[in-house]
Point group: C5
Chain length 307, copies 5
């Protein structure tokens, strides 16, 4: 996620880093070059443009704006929904851990140790979620946070966050059976496991179900064809202004198209993606504080990007 | 569902498989041919176009874009809502099974067997849902996963997922009566049955309540009439550019219209529909892992389509 | 609700039954006739049109499209929300009945009869809801399904679904007092009564709170005035094409306006309204199956309309 | 709220009462007069319009339509959300009262009287909410429905609905302490108090947090400036049609602006505001019926407006 | 938050304080000056504009309106969601405190003091939230409301609202262990702690996750470039009207852009931001009334702005 102090209007106009400009620049320059060529050819008489009105092109352009707008909206909704689920993850992990420590932490029996295990497994869950969604390996964090043989059991599973929730369920059922929890307090703690399952499934949904492929192709294609047609439609009406306007329109359309691509997959590592690592670290800090153990440092943005 | 590695901008322009192009191509070519004919006839003087401005056509085109955009949005929402309900299905099936196994699985009495039955019935529920929504027969999966006479009872019902939930309710009530569950733990497990009923009803709603038919007809008809009028409106202003632009506009409008048709019914077997079979298989894998039984292989996409 | 097998593109263009066409046709033809008259008068020199550009009209037309689109969206949301509440109704009625039968149905005491009463009252609730929302009389169904004196008590109330829920509450409290239910199982069953109250209130909200009247009038009026102005604005630019285009625009705007009117009140008996009778029948089938009693036949669509 | 039988298309065009027309008419007529003046001055040569194309004005008009549409949407959402909260109020009041009467009403001890007090306090809550949101005084209803000294305690508070919920909480805690309720049934009834607190806070939010003031000013101002510029932009292209079209555009924009103002504050007493009094009365009828006491008459609309 | 009595139409046109005008005025005047320069240069023949039609510019302007509209919508949604979470905060704090006082307040043992501590900690939570979101120091309020050593423990934490919830959990667990609460009443009170955790996490999400930076830059940049191009596109068609229209368009676009910036961060101290201090004060008033202690005065708006 890009984290910058708010810039002045003027500086916003010229900022490059962290924007979509570098990635769409070649395409935008291409359109500008094509426009210049068309205008030159037309002025030289090599090209006989029969287009007496840019209105039909406007129609297509407006239709395209409406559809691009809708797609952009849908992608932004995915991104924001993903962020909401990570918010819920933080809620559940904090609330679960506080509750477990408050309920079980004072006990003189083995339950105190169970509360600590639950909280540490919650930290491991956050790291395992990052790895699950980014296709990494959370082996190190899991081994660091969980005792054996649990760590091995979890690492053996293909869906590690799911396996961690199974361990939670097993631990809670044992605590219930050994009367450290009444069925009410068990049920209260169990709610959080269900909440975490909720987050896991919702994130998997966003991660593995892209926007319908046809939709993406249809709009991408129309946007490119439209920008390629633009110079022919504008050359007569605008003359040497054509390259400027065509470039601006191309910048807006390609930029929005590309930004939608990035927002569609909010769990990746591109600059506009969510800062999962920083959130997992913040969970670890909160829970280590609750356990009274030393906290790690918060992650800092590098080049204005929080990983 | 179409699953492809992300393509480059250029390849996206030329990809054919998995897009809407093949299906709308005949219509698009028809509009292009009509345009060519109109321009030719007009140039030859056979046709006296009195249309001196394409602006009125633009008005209709923009109105149409707005309405098509709304319809497309509504259809996409149905598709995404359907996917959310299947996400909830996965949550409930996993969470229910984990909880049942944790609560009942350690018992030396018959309750351990009950936990296994609940988890296997959950797998059967996923397969029965696929069959219910796609109009198939889930006979094989139900017979494979459920003991007799339950399998026969379920197969005798017209609404098999509903019958499976009734079996769940019966089993849970028995467990409560025989004191394997307290009323609190029973109530906790019962929540999941209610959650599954929720998913079942919501999917039936999406499956059996299409968008208002009048809406579909109104927009489909206006889109076609508009594209048929286009050549007459553009011929004078655009000359031989008319076929290109008319084809592009037709491609966008017909493509969006057709895509909305597909998204409206997300449970079918067209390329953009949800991959119900793959999700049911994934549920089976998760639950078989939880039961410690051998897991089936995950479904692989064929021709980039996950069934 | 209109239920048709999916038609081909071509047939969709010419289908009449179940569409809005018959109802807006007179208005559309009126606009076409007015257009012809205007063009004729203008060509004959009887009318001196000073409108040299249709652009200002376009502006109004586009503004109108945007506002009509919003209204249509709001009406569709009401329709779809209504359908969701009926989905929730089905969920609660099924889930409640299954649970009551599972919990109480095995008892040798009078509780078995109570479970049957609860399920039959649930069927009566579905029928009473249809009658409440459509302004009918559910006397017959209530008398058929409920014992005396309960049936009379319910029929004496002005809000019969509400009275049925009161009877549910009374029955559940009695079961709790007589220890057929623990307070947990009572609370679990009571949740469904609350859920049904939810559905009742939400449906009353949609039924008795129309869209702000001013909104409807404002858009209806602007749409008509706009279509009446159209011929004057287009006659010079389009000549004898005017009647065709004006008719098409009128068809789109009037059709959307009328469709929004229908969707605004989803509980009526117009073709696009929800098929409440069919849903109530389907609930009766499900619950009669759960009770092991003979099921009625499902309702069939007549002329593609499911009542 | 305006409640009218559905009018025919024709009558909708000419209805005046209950519409926004009377309030925007002076402004619309002003724009028409200005237009006539501009056209006259231009025709006489007193005014030298250099505007050769109305297209730039169209651009501003369309941008404005989009922004007005968004604002209108936001205001309608507030109105509809307010109605939903009042729906929730009705649900909670009915459900709470039914449940309290069913649970406590049969008791021979003092609990029966407590159920009656709870139900009557619920009626008072509905009236106090109306007064709280409309800035009235609910003194009369509170004194009529509550016993002393409770009525005085409530009337002494600045936030009377909040004070009533505190009384509910006190009563329920007493019932729990005196064992008329188990902790489960107490918790079940307490849920409704929380639900009512929810409604109270949500209504306060809508009532006391208007749309950002800047937003309202920005759009209001742009709409007026735009309509003042219109005659200058249209006079050359439309001639004596200008006043008609300018008036229509002004009517649409001013009407929507004004309607949004009304919907923004749904709890007032303007014609399109919610009929809080009628809803509170209907709650009183339902609960008096449940208590077996005489019911008041329902409120009737006066001049098609339900207060 | 700006709180003004509703102004008349006319006064709304000229109000300055509390609007966006002062901040965008320099930019708007700049565009107007540039326009005048361009028109002058063009009239003098120093500038040879080849732009024969403003239609292409319109296309870009409309596309931009659609995208600005979407962004504005997204920012407004953030603002309104933030307000909803503060509504939930008020609900939970009131409901939690009422319930705690009702349940524990009558006790003769130490539990009465615990209820008072819970309510006072709730007030501290509201103030700590304001400080957490605005980057202030809530030291004074926390020291005033909490006893030592709790106040020091809370002040030592980096996330003070989170630390306060941990104290809540500890207190509730102690009350459960000492049998002042049954597990049901504990679980009921605990729900509110979870609700507060919910609010805390949601507000942190809105506070620390801005809209994707690229989105903001893309639209800001396009809006400025568009307004800079405007004079060149309009000069020929509009002549000396150009500065007026260009200024109006610039006012609308820059105003909306700037307003979106403000709404994006609803927790700041700009005029359109939420009045967190006033809400925290109102919570303190409600809870002090419930405790029977002296209430502070409500905050008054200064210059129509409620802090």
């Amino acid at each position: 996620m890009i984290v910058r102090p708010r810039l002045s209007s003027l500086r916003l106009l010229f900022v490059v880093r962290g924007t979509i400009l570098p990635r769409v620049l070649p395409h935008v320059l291409g359109i500008a070059a094509l426009s210049a060529l068309v205008v030159w050819a037309y002025r030289q008489g090599y090209l006989d443009l029969q287009i007496s009105s840019p209105a039909p092109l406007s129609l297509l352009g407006i239709a395209l704006s409406i559809f691009l707008g809708f797609r952009n909206n849908a992608c932004y909704d995915r991104w924001w929904e993903a962020r909401k689920h990570w918010g819920a993850l933080i809620i559940e992990l904090r609330s679960f851990s506080h509750e477990a420590i408050a309920l079980l932490g004072d006990d003189s029996s083995g339950a105190k140790e169970a509360a600590r295990r639950l909280a540490r497994r919650n930290i491991a869950f956050a790291h395992a979620m990052v790895a699950h969604l980014r296709g990494n390996d959370a082996r190190e964090d899991i081994s660091r946070l969980l005792p054996e043989p649990e760590a091995s059991r979890v690492l053996a599973s293909q869906n590690r966050p799911n396996a961690l929730l199974r361990e939670h369920d097993r631990e809670l059922a044992t605590l219930l059976r050994e009367k450290h929890l009444t069925d009410i307090t068990w049920s209260e703690l169990r709610t959080h496991v269900h909440g975490l399952m909720n987050v896991l499934s919702a994130c998997e949904r966003i991660r593995f179900t892209p926007l319908p492929f046809t939709y993406t192709v249809l709009l991408h294609r129309t946007a490119y064809l439209f920008c390629l047609l633009l110079p022919f439609g504008l050359a007569e009406a605008l003359g040497w202004f054509t390259p400027w306007l065509a470039a601006m329109i191309a910048y807006t359309f390609f930029g929005l198209d590309r930004l939608s691509d990035e927002l569609e997959e909010p769990f990746g590592t591109e600059p506009n993606d969510l800062s999962l690592l920083a959130m997992a670290r913040s969970v670890e800090m909160n829970l280590m504080e609750a356990l009274g153990e030393p906290q790690p440092e918060p992650l800092k943005p590098r080049d204005f990007v929080l990983p």
